[in-house]
Amino acid sequence: MTMHTNWKDLLLRFLLGGSAVVLSYAASVLLPWKALGGIFATFPAVMIVAVLMVGWAQGSARASEIARGSVYGMAGCAVCVVAVLYFMKTTGLWWLSLGLGLVCWYLSAFLIYKVRRSIKSS
């Protein structure tokens, strides 16, 4: 049962993640609204699948908790985007900006995770 749920979970994540990147690409090529490509690139595929799977198995109250918890994860992702944008604009170096963006994401996500845990345990 767990194995079956895992495969369903991964398949949904694959479909939504793939669709988001395709939508982002199609929007950036076909539409004059360039921001839309970037917005689609942040489609919350992982949060949606997590809420869907938990809602299905454990009900609305637990699904609501998962969605609230994902706000913290998204804050870490926003730090990553800000860092990539900043380094891309200041250095013009693509790989360096991507690497530093990942470092900033990990540090901010780690900090947010620790703060959340200490708030929960207090």
Partner: protein, 120 residues
């Protein structure tokens, strides 16, 4: 005229889906605090960013990446609102209705914001 090829779309679909699945599997395998952190890996954004390299190089690559990241920054703001809305609506109206309304809201707000940015 700009055209989309099926191969380019398929490649991006596999790449985006693969990135999300890889981050999910890594998150479960690592477990603990590192696994918890990887559960919120920005896989779709990074996959979209890397996918730009398939078509562009040099200054054009950096310019396109900046454009994508500017949109992504707005998108992250919308996502945070969307997640808060899902949390609220799932508790008030049930997870099916709450999730559907929030995704619909995410789509409408994204289109509205893009339209406003384009019009101004």
């Amino acid at each position: 005229m700009v055209r989309l090829s099926l191969a380019a779309l398929l490649l991006r679909f596999l790449f985006g889906g693969g990135a999300v699945v890889l981050a999910s599997v890594l998150s479960k395998k690592l477990g603990g605090s590192v696994g918890g952190i990887f559960a919120a890996f920005p896989a779709v954004y990074l996959a979209a960013l890397v996918a730009i390299r398939l078509d562009h190089t040099g200054n054009e690559l950096v310019a396109r990446s900046i454009s994508l990241s500017q949109g992504a920054l707005i998108g992250m703001g919308i996502n945070i609102l969307c997640a808060a809305a899902v949390g609220y609506l799932c508790a008030k109206r049930g997870w099916k209705r709450g999730l559907s309304l929030s995704i619909g809201g995410w789509f409408a707000v994204s289109l509205g914001v893009s339209y406003l940015l384009f019009s101004i």
